[in-house]
Homo-oligomer: 336 residues x 2
Amino acid sequence: MVKAKKFIYAKAFQGQPKSENFKLEEFELPELKDDEVLCEAIFLSVDPYMRPYMSRFPVGSTMIGGQIAKVTNSKHSKFPTGSMIYGDFGWQTHTIFNPENLSETFINEPIVLPNFGNLPYSYALGCLGMPGNTAFFGFLEICQPKKGETVVITGAAGAVGCLVGQIAKIKGCIVVGFAGTDEKCKWLTNECQFDHAFNYKTCDITKSLKEAAPNGIDCYFDNVGGEISSTILRQMNLFGRVSVCGSISVYNENMEDLPKVTIVQPLLLFKQLKMEGFIVSRWKSRFGEGFASMLNWVKEGKIKYRETVTEGFENMPNAFMEMLNGKNIGKAIVKI
Amino acid sequence: MVKAKKFIYAKAFQGQPKSENFKLEEFELPELKDDEVLCEAIFLSVDPYMRPYMSRFPVGSTMIGGQIAKVTNSKHSKFPTGSMIYGDFGWQTHTIFNPENLSETFINEPIVLPNFGNLPYSYALGCLGMPGNTAFFGFLEICQPKKGETVVITGAAGAVGCLVGQIAKIKGCIVVGFAGTDEKCKWLTNECQFDHAFNYKTCDITKSLKEAAPNGIDCYFDNVGGEISSTILRQMNLFGRVSVCGSISVYNENMEDLPKVTIVQPLLLFKQLKMEGFIVSRWKSRFGEGFASMLNWVKEGKIKYRETVTEGFENMPNAFMEMLNGKNIGKAIVKI
């Protein structure tokens, strides 16, 4: 018998997540049946989307999320013992799954990871996983950036934002990022090659943009929503494109009673802007393409990646809450 | 010597336009030179866009706008005497222009209208002119409506809105309109074949939409902006499309200090909506195509059109102010 642990969504979120929203439970896994695979989590992901998405699940559900796990016992030839896999197993240390009969809670089918060489497997939760594809497709497909254009990114030091900026640099754009600490901004300009990075908590946003983007903004990759987005939209150029990837500024709000911000439609109208929200799964059939490009860029050193690692499964709620409060630089992960 | 009248932008708009913002001036036109054309206004247009656009012109400029005029004297073979033309001549009774050397204030080059048969030439200011092309391209190109989809329109009884709804019906959509009086709503359902029309001033918008669009909204043609747009966006379906044609709700506001409304980005995000602002001139090279389609539909009786006609050039400011206050049904025009 294998003993496992999982975190339960113990109390519905209201405002900022607190410890009381999570409950650690131990349970025993049954014997492995035909076709089944047993795996053990190595790295778990905490991501902003979990905050709004959990509201769709009943209290008592296992917290949702992706993880990198090692197959420790297998009765399925496609998942040999010892292989490293990615799976949407939630906040759970050990999982049994049947690849022929997956439960509906799986967003993606579990996949065996290729050999990562010198790169850590945790990257499959970041630049070589969902956040990587989010940056790759969400930016390139929706913003359609052209060489020499100016790209602005909010939440720029997060798991996705820092990748968008570096992809934009590869495409020959001028890149301006907004992040929430001076340390993050330093990392963006020193390591990630952003042309400019500003601490939105202390800078004059309008003035900073006028200086950093004197020719106006062509593409805006929006991770946060909020008033800063209206301010950025005001400085966009004719036919600018806006990719709405996240709305962290409202994830702790009541979705039925969202806050008010300066209206954006007149800004869209006079500059003929296009603004589109997306969820990365729409490009699921092309994930291989995104992965391959990101892998090349990371191997070539054209994309730098950073992780904020929390040790210990029992610290998952903390890692999640700190990530929502912007404590992470780059991807927030939990290492078992 | 021909005596002419024009309205001058006498005082910068602040809030709602008032009589003091306009000044009627008389002036004499010079003798016609080689290549020049003299024409006399028959119908003049008042449109919402004039409110925000005039702010870009210095006080003392002639009020901008399109008109249908008759050529009364011509030294240019392309504009023979007696022909009916469309021109961006502004609020002015008589105009001399040189087709070989147009001033920069012309948005479009003057054009000789084809024979309209039984249809009034004033339609060239509406369904067979700029508003017609605005509805045709702004709806079909940006919303990409499919048969059976639900389309919502605000400002539905205006010059553009009523056309969008009828084009949507031709394309096999379910059409829901919002307008500001019960009389307008009756006209939309009785004459324009809208499936539903609601008086936004008296109805519960959320509830009305739930009843009229039980399967959600696929396309939203937005003429007004404002809080109603956030409410509509909340009921949109996955991959819905929003065409931002106008923002009448803020045209009397200070553009540097726009009002706040419920944030739209989270709504765009979770439903993966696309929202795009446009100005019809982007499809200038295809105006002939729009005109031909609209002309056919009007001739076939598939599109009904209505005008609110104000008589007398001196009443242009009133016609304009009443149109901004929603007093018109269909296209607001002034007849000399």
